[in-house]
Symmetry: C2
């Protein structure tokens, strides 16, 4: 339906065409933290995304193969959103964002430990979290 139009072939530009907005990466962030979430879970995020925006973002992220819709094991009324490998692989990007913010902005107290760990051994940190997420994918 709303397939994306590329402005150029530049990798940055193409990536921004996909998730270059104020919300998409926040959804990815939430799915990294929660591993899986319902529509309602994602609405509860602290940035208070509007329901229509969430709906269109979820559509486009699924279209782009970044997230996956699955049936909730407990209830037919619920939908579970999870990351694909393509979505999981956005983690290094999110970590770089944290490192940049740590240098030039402020990191909330409860995330300082994580950032410290990521700085200490970036590779190990990324691998650990990715491993963790991949396990929950294989359901």
């Amino acid at each position: 339906m709303s397939s994306i139009k590329k402005r150029s072939n530049c990798p940055i530009s193409c990536s921004l065409d996909i998730w270059g907005d104020k919300w998409s990466l926040l959804i990815v962030r939430d799915l990294i933290q929660l591993k899986q979430a319902t529509y309602g879970d994602l609405l509860k995020g602290e940035e208070k995304i509007a329901t229509n925006i969430l709906a269109t973002r979820l559509q486009m992220l699924e279209e782009q193969g970044i997230i996956l819709k699955a049936k909730h094991p407990d209830s037919k009324a619920k939908v579970l959103y999870t990351l694909t490998q393509k979505g999981i692989d956005l983690l290094p990007l999110l970590i770089e964002i944290h490192l940049w913010t740590e240098k030039y902005g402020t990191i909330p107290e409860d995330k300082k430990a994580l950032v410290k760990e990521a700085k200490k051994d970036r590779e190990a940190f990324i691998n650990r979290i990715i491993q963790d997420l991949q396990e929950s994918i294989v359901n």
Copy 2:
């Protein structure tokens, strides 16, 4: 003037509040490549940014301490835009974007060598480019 309103204290959210749009990171990309550019240079980018958007983005990026306006040595009519250290430090982010695109999208022929180099020794690659940019800062 147009100071940014934070949606939350999350580092991702705060970062997106600053450069979470389709254009800001493209300007940073161009300044990394060109080291310094005039308004006209930036307009010539292949994505064809509109002049009003360029003007407001430059304002905001300067406001956020990511770029710097300097006088052109040749002409008083010209302005040179350069990155600050804060702007230069967005480079690792841009590299991660390239790596993600390499895995899931397509990299234009002329950039494949750079991506390969970045993959081979990320740290060295980043340091080399940053060093290079820092030299042009000290004017």
